[in-house]
Symmetry: D4
Subunit: 163 residues, 8 copies
Amino acid sequence: MKPKVMIVLGSGTDYTIAEKAMNIFEELKIPYDLKVASAHRTHEKVKNIVLDSVKNGVEVFIGIAGLSAHLPGIIAANTHRPVVGVPVDVKIGGLDALFACSQMPFPVPVATVGIDRGENGALFAAQILGTYNQKIRARIIKLREGYYEKVERDESHIITNIQ
Amino acid sequence: MKPKVMIVLGSGTDYTIAEKAMNIFEELKIPYDLKVASAHRTHEKVKNIVLDSVKNGVEVFIGIAGLSAHLPGIIAANTHRPVVGVPVDVKIGGLDALFACSQMPFPVPVATVGIDRGENGALFAAQILGTYNQKIRARIIKLREGYYEKVERDESHIITNIQ
Amino acid sequence: MKPKVMIVLGSGTDYTIAEKAMNIFEELKIPYDLKVASAHRTHEKVKNIVLDSVKNGVEVFIGIAGLSAHLPGIIAANTHRPVVGVPVDVKIGGLDALFACSQMPFPVPVATVGIDRGENGALFAAQILGTYNQKIRARIIKLREGYYEKVERDESHIITNIQ
Amino acid sequence: MKPKVMIVLGSGTDYTIAEKAMNIFEELKIPYDLKVASAHRTHEKVKNIVLDSVKNGVEVFIGIAGLSAHLPGIIAANTHRPVVGVPVDVKIGGLDALFACSQMPFPVPVATVGIDRGENGALFAAQILGTYNQKIRARIIKLREGYYEKVERDESHIITNIQ
Amino acid sequence: MKPKVMIVLGSGTDYTIAEKAMNIFEELKIPYDLKVASAHRTHEKVKNIVLDSVKNGVEVFIGIAGLSAHLPGIIAANTHRPVVGVPVDVKIGGLDALFACSQMPFPVPVATVGIDRGENGALFAAQILGTYNQKIRARIIKLREGYYEKVERDESHIITNIQ
Amino acid sequence: MKPKVMIVLGSGTDYTIAEKAMNIFEELKIPYDLKVASAHRTHEKVKNIVLDSVKNGVEVFIGIAGLSAHLPGIIAANTHRPVVGVPVDVKIGGLDALFACSQMPFPVPVATVGIDRGENGALFAAQILGTYNQKIRARIIKLREGYYEKVERDESHIITNIQ
Amino acid sequence: MKPKVMIVLGSGTDYTIAEKAMNIFEELKIPYDLKVASAHRTHEKVKNIVLDSVKNGVEVFIGIAGLSAHLPGIIAANTHRPVVGVPVDVKIGGLDALFACSQMPFPVPVATVGIDRGENGALFAAQILGTYNQKIRARIIKLREGYYEKVERDESHIITNIQ
Amino acid sequence: MKPKVMIVLGSGTDYTIAEKAMNIFEELKIPYDLKVASAHRTHEKVKNIVLDSVKNGVEVFIGIAGLSAHLPGIIAANTHRPVVGVPVDVKIGGLDALFACSQMPFPVPVATVGIDRGENGALFAAQILGTYNQKIRARIIKLREGYYEKVERDESHIITNIQ
């Protein structure tokens, strides 16, 4: 199936953050693809990934990057599709990446989720797709409810143990 | 026309940030609505706004708030629709609001744009709508190109002046 | 005995911080209850906990949360009882949670203690109860004096060892 | 009438922050007193204020201070009554005062409200008194509701104007 | 004369910072050029500026940008020539831009000078040219000595006045 | 021998930082004493330590503390002798303690050294004593020179190894 | 009279901070001198000032500087006399200067006072001189008491006005 | 062969950061030298290293330092050659060193690379040398391309594994 979401990972060393995103897409049955390409190191590749992706029907991009974290911004500069930024904590607690993702100028927004929050980046991308796809929205509702139930069970476990 | 985007402003004092968003929606001809409601002060109202909005066909939410900036998170807790957060600089340069918007737990993402960037929040919301609306996408492209041309003109003006 | 203090824990993973609070209440013989409920994930549950608690005689709330840490603020939005916030260090040293707890707008204060300081949150809640309960005040005095004596003993131990 | 709350202001230059607190107490008809005394400059005076206040029936303290902001902590060291800290922005956005108020060790909590938020400090003190005083609680509810109505009116004004 | 240094300004609003750089180049008689082009807004233009510049003999680049400040990094991604970054204070004191400029990954360094320090960026670029150009080095020495003498005169003025 | 320097340690858990100071005093043969006393927990004790110390000839104080780190300020409030503050990293990298030590109001300065730098606090205290004590000054010179020689040896070791 | 304290000002633009220090020395009748010399710009001059000063009987140094604020550290590297650092707010609230002054390595301490606190730097220098000079100590006591009385008068004025 | 680059390491404990730089110079066949000398501890030595280096043909300096990190600034104060600063994370995530390196006043720039990024410091120094040395430039291009290919291989490995 053709991917609806393209995850671009700035560096292979941040793979665990991408994995969190991929698990969500698996659970929501949303076809995605993963590429590893640095905004600075393999710059032309990023652009080509973006252009090819759009041509092939990708509707949302996720850029995962640490440090100067220009990747999501570069993706956003090359497409009119929404781009979600996931800042990664490599140095100074990830503040550098959080600022680099969120503090974008007009008219090139990057919608930024929390530091190291690949799973929230994916869920937000799914919510975007869910605006016009009933099935995905239903699966998001199920995922969230399932999660809430699991939390509920864990919580009652905690409460039981302390009594 | 029924609004596609609901802007919720946490406090009337941050109205200028909402105005930046509204100007973008006017330009993109995207029907929107604006409500003023605080996550803490008029909590039930926020929830009702969200539930009514969804019923009435709102597809994206924008929460604009300063300080603890819980508003976008509360909206996100009450809907499965995508929520965009715009942190406002009231104290400490807006860092409190930036953290409060972006550092959300799973599975309640808020997609955060830059501090005081109402116009980027709106553009991102438009990009979301543009994933399945050709016309909006065309207008985004036009807006961006128009903006780039204006920047280009301003720039050549600067360059001319210094020569 | 009916609980006087309701501790609400935003996430089961921060249980050790709640435990510090519970130990203080055990020592001060103050009846308390613990619930685990997230401001965003199980939002309606938080509200119900607050409303039920007030009905059942709870006089002070403690909200323990990391990251965006909206939980104490949400509790405060649903009651006129005092709410104590305990920010938890999950990312960036807990600064996000400290700001989210303390930087609340008027008229929804959250009284915030130090990062990860469950024991200070509990002691402060006890001081609130102690304003009109002589016995609790007496136990606070005893707890503090006992602690000071213990510190004193530890200190003289240090001093002795270095001589 | 004998004061129930003692406001201690670290420096006369931060008087406007104290005024915000005083306005709340006037509105809630809670007898209060104001002293100006620095934790460092007139140290013994702080202690005497605290001891005299407790003897005279003061039930809650508010310490307002900027910079190193030791004042609320020093008050807390001298009483078993609850102490509310209001950090003031004098330098670096008030971060120094926010940390100094909130990051207190066990067993000397200071319950800290937002930077420059004298009105929230007062409201929180009122909530403490309201735990066993039905009348104060009723006035808090009225104050909050009145505030919410005023906000509502202002908001509908904004909304009307933009249409 | 063909420019040795290309200054790229991310936004026309930061022109005063570029001016500081230009004044230094005038004084050092180093031919330079100024372009205004945003890393995100007119991305392709940045690349073309860089490639054309290199072809035309530009030896050092200066990127001046605020906020996410990706501009110097994008320049660096498109050339093997040294790139100097000047972060501009637009929000949060310029910390976002400082981090975005300096925290670049390997092998794409941006050599970053202080916030708003266009004049230091230019001087550093001159020092680079001065490594193989005796005349430029001589002018740098003269500029620095002249500056030191001026400072000396101002200082003795201060000292005289206070006596 | 009667102590010239009184080290006051805010908490026994920060003993390793005090140890660094003590080693310097041993090496410089400066008589010192160590007390453990918290600004908040054993407040009266701090005051008594200060007053007794001054009576007994102590000339410089060192306050070592983390978190809100009021200890050095409280010492300074109780004496006209110079007080050196050593902030300790307990939370947020020690920034809270650094601000609490250094950001003191007039006329109660605390001279603050680096985070966790007990050895620099001690050396600075020695420099104060050395202003009128030739022998101590001589020993400081020797200590520094010895240290420099040791560094030199270590360095040449490094250099040798890489060749 | 020969100066006991040498104030070195890193830049003439920070003169108001030096003035605060000078006023204190005037009041305490402590002979001082002021030089303007930058750690980086007129480096050799700093060294000569330090060496000459020590020869001429200067006992304490005060270094006042903003930004990278290396001046106090450079003074400290050139003398065994105590050096007091006064960080100046030029950018990012003065955090850069505060860190540069305080975070010195062993064995080159700089005793740092608060941001822009020239008056505290001077008072601390006076306290150093006061360790062996009864008269200076007496004047410090008088200055502090005079200040406290003035504060007291201002405070009673505030209190009177609000009644 | 005579060194073209002089690496000065502020402290032997930061040797691993220097090593990253040295590996790059080995790969690029650029003759370099390494000295260990502290800006504060062995101040005169730094100056002599700089003056000797310049006499012997060194064209670029790299200063590697943590904490107050004055070393690169001191080098820059003693030469008209370009100086690259590498801030090291010793405390508070390296923010102190990053600020100390980058926030230099005019006319003493230090071109700062990312925290702990010895390899980027070296690459930037090589880019400076490459402005007039065709061979070095060719090797930089080869190094970068080799690196990109390696990244590419690693990435395709990641991609393959997840399929």
